[in-house]
C-alpha cells in the first residue's frame, strides 16, 4: 500500500546501503530529485540498473554511491560522453566500478520478465556480438519446438525502483502518460518503490479507459516533488531542458568542478529546489 510522505522519509525507508536500485525514466520523467536525495543520504555500495545512464547516474557514480552498474547505454543523449562514468571506468575514480553490460533489448526484456515474475527472459538478440564474451549473464536456451537458439538473461528483480510520474491520487494510484519507458515494469519487478510525482490530486482526472496506472497497492512510497524530473521533462508540465544537458558536459568534465557543483546544487539544497528550476529561465538552471 502506497505511503504518501516526504522525499527524505521515502528514500530513508526504501533505499539501503548495498541495495540494487532501478532508477528509470526513458529520457522523459527521469527522477532527478529522488537521485539527489539518495546522494544527500550518502547511500553506498549500490548496484544501479538503468538502460540509459543519463546525468543522474553520472552524479551517483561521481559521488561514490555506486559499486556496480547494469546498463545498456552510457552517454549524455545528443551531447556526448558522461565524464564521471568514463572517469570511473577508465581511471577508477572515485573507486573501481563493476559493470554488467547489456543491449537495450535485453534490458527491456529483463524488466518485462521481472514484472511478469519470471526468473529469466528470452529474446532474439546478441547474435554475433562480443557482449556475451564480456557478460557471463548472457546465456542461451534452445526453443523446444524449432531448435532455434535464443538469448537468455536473468530477469531484473531490483530491491527498489525509483521513478517519477505526472500525478498520483490521494490513495497513491500513479498515472503516467507520454514516453513510458520501462517505469511500470521497473516498479512491478521491484520489491519496493519510490514514486515522485508532479502533483498529488484528489482524484485522477478523466482518462483513457486504458490509461497507464500503477495501482496504489503496487507502490510503496509516493512523494509530491514538483519539477522533480528536471532537467528531464514531464509531458504536460515542462519540457526537457536541453541546454542543461549540454552544459553538463562542461560541469562534469573535471573532478573538482563536478564536486563543487554537487555541493552547491545537491548537498546544500533540497527537493524544493526543483520547483524553482522549472520556473526559472532555463539557461540559468545549469549554473
Amino acid at each position: 500500500m502506497a505511503q504518501i510522505s516526504s522525499l527524505s522519509e521515502a528514500i530513508a525507508a526504501a533505499v539501503r546501503d548495498g541495495d540494487t536500485l532501478a532508477v528509470e525514466g526513458f529520457t522523459h520523467l527521469i527522477p532527478h530529485a529522488a537521485g539527489h536525495e539518495i546522494i544527500r543520504q550518502g547511500r553506498k555500495r549500490l548496484t544501479l540498473i538503468r538502460m540509459t545512464l543519463d546525468l543522474i547516474y553520472d552524479q551517483l557514480i561521481g559521488m561514490g554511491c555506486v559499486d556496480k552498474l547494469v546498463f545498456s547505454w552510457g552517454g549524455n543523449p545528443g551531447v556526448g560522453s558522461l565524464h564521471r562514468f568514463r572517469d570511473a571506468i577508465e581511471n577508477g575514480w572515485p573507486h573501481k566500478l563493476a559493470i554488467e553490460e547489456h543491449s537495450h533489448a535485453a534490458m527491456a526484456n529483463a524488466y518485462e520478465a521481472g514484472a511478469a515474475g519470471l526468473p529469466c527472459a528470452i529474446f532474439r538478440g546478441y547474435i554475433g556480438t562480443d557482449l556475451p564474451k564480456v557478460n557471463a549473464q548472457i546465456k542461451t536456451i534452445t526453443c523446444p519446438f524449432t531448435g532455434e537458439e535464443l538469448a537468455a538473461i536473468p530477469a531484473h528483480r531490483p530491491d527498489v525502483a525509483v521513478i517519477h510520474a505526472q500525478r498520483a491520487d490521494k490513495a497513491g494510484n500513479v498515472m503516467i502518460e507520454g514516453v513510458l519507458g520501462v517505469q511500470k515494469e521497473a516498479v512491478l519487478a521491484s520489491k519496493r518503490s519510490v514514486v515522485t510525482v508532479e502533483e498529488i490530486v484528489d482524484e485522477l482526472p478523466a482518462r483513457s479507459l486504458n490509461a497507464v496506472v500503477l495501482p496504489h497497492w503496487t507502490v510503496s512510497h509516493v512523494v509530491e516533488v514538483p519539477g522533480g524530473a528536471f532537467p528531464s521533462y514531464a509531458q504536460g508540465y515542462y519540457p526537457r531542458n536541453n541546454s542543461f544537458y549540454k552544459q553538463w558536459d562542461e560541469v562534469s568534465r573535471d573532478r573538482d568542478g563536478f564536486l563543487a557543483w554537487m555541493k552547491d546544487n545537491v548537498l546544500n539544497k533540497g527537493p524544493e529546489a526543483f520547483a524553482h528550476y522549472v520556473r526559472m529561465p532555463r539557461a540559468a538552471a545549469a549554473e
Binding site: H28, S103, V182
Partner: protein, 257 residues
C-alpha cells in the same frame, strides 16, 4: 549548383535512399536529420519510429534526445519500451534501421562500446543501446558515418553490432534472415556490399571527391565498384528544407534555453 558542406551531402544522400512506404527505426543525429528530410521532401508517408516508443512520429524540429516530448506529441501513439523492442523491432515490423558507430570494418560490423581492451579501455564509449538487435531485426540497415582512419578500421576493438560478419554467407550462417547493411553513406562516398564477398565497396563518390581521398580515409585497402558513379549533388530544394529544419531546431532550442 548550390554550395553545401560534406555533412549536408551525407544527410541528403541518406535521405534519398528512403521511400514513401518505408518504416524506419531512427537514431538521434544524422539518421534523424536524414529521415525527417526524406519526410519533408519526397517521402511524406514515411513512418518514423524512435526507440522511445513513438510510432509514426512527425517532429517539426529535430529532437536532441531519443525521447523528446516533440516526438511523443506528434506520434500516432507511443508504446512502452519493452513493447517497442518486442513487438516492433523483434517482431520484424521495421524495414530500415539506421546505425552509426565509433568504428566500422570492411564488412560493416560496428563498434560503439570501447576503444582498447574491454577491461582496461583507452576510451569507454557509450555502448550498444539498441544497436545489437537493430542490426539483426530490421529488414535492412543503412549506416551513416563520416570517414577517417580512426573510425574506418581494419579490425574492430569490439563487435557491438554485426554487419556482414566475416563476409560471404557468414551472416546467414548465424541464423540471421535479414539483409544487414545495404548502404553505407559517408561524407565522401556511398558504399554497398559486394554481392559475393559482402565487403563494403565504394559505388559512388560525392562531387569533387577523389579515389585517393577515400583511400586515405579508410583503414583497410578500399575497393571501388567496376563503375563508380558521381553522387548527385544536393538539389536547391533539398538543401533549403534541410537548412530550414536545422534552423527551426536551433531556434527552438534557443527559445527553450
Amino acid at each position: 549548383m548550390a554550395d553545401y558542406k560534406p555533412n549536408e551531402m551525407m544527410t541528403v544522400a541518406a535521405a534519398r535512399m528512403l521511400k514513401n512506404d518505408d518504416v524506419c527505426f531512427v537514431g538521434i543525429g544524422q539518421p534523424s536529420a536524414a529521415c525527417n528530410l526524406a519526410r519533408l521532401t519526397h517521402a511524406p508517408g514515411i513512418t518514423l519510429i524512435y526507440e522511445s516508443g513513438t510510432l509514426a512520429t512527425k517532429p517539426n524540429i529535430l529532437p536532441l534526445s531519443i525521447g523528446d516530448g516533440e516526438l511523443c506529441e506528434t506520434a500516432l501513439t507511443t508504446v512502452s519500451v519493452p513493447e517497442m523492442f518486442r513487438y516492433w523491432l523483434q517482431g520484424g515490423r521495421i524495414k530500415v534501421g539506421f546505425l552509426g558507430g565509433a568504428q566500422i570494418d570492411k564488412y560493416a560490423n560496428l563498434n560503439t562500446t570501447v576503444v582498447g581492451p574491454y577491461d582496461r579501455p583507452k576510451v569507454r564509449l557509450p555502448g550498444g543501446g539498441g544497436a545489437p538487435e537493430i542490426a539483426t531485426s530490421c529488414g535492412e540497415i543503412f549506416i551513416i558515418m563520416a570517414q577517417g582512419k580512426r573510425s574506418f578500421v581494419d579490425r574492430l576493438d569490439f563487435v557491438t553490432s554485426i554487419g556482414h560478419v566475416s563476409g560471404g554467407d557468414s551472416r546467414q550462417k548465424l541464423g540471421v534472415k535479414t539483409k544487414g547493411p545495404t548502404k553505407l553513406i559517408t561524407d565522401l562516398a556511398l558504399f554497398a556490399p559486394d554481392p559475393e564477398t559482402k565487403e563494403m565497396i565504394a559505388v559512388s563518390l560525392h562531387p569533387g571527391v577523389t579515389r585517393e581521398q577515400v583511400a586515405e580515409n579508410t583503414g583497410w585497402p578500399v575497393r571501388f565498384a567496376a563503375e563508380v558513379a558521381e553522387t548527385e549533388p544536393p538539389a536547391a530544394q533539398e538543401l533549403e528544407v534541410l537548412r530550414e529544419l536545422h534552423a527551426r531546431t536551433n531556434r527552438a532550442h534557443i527559445a527553450a534555453a
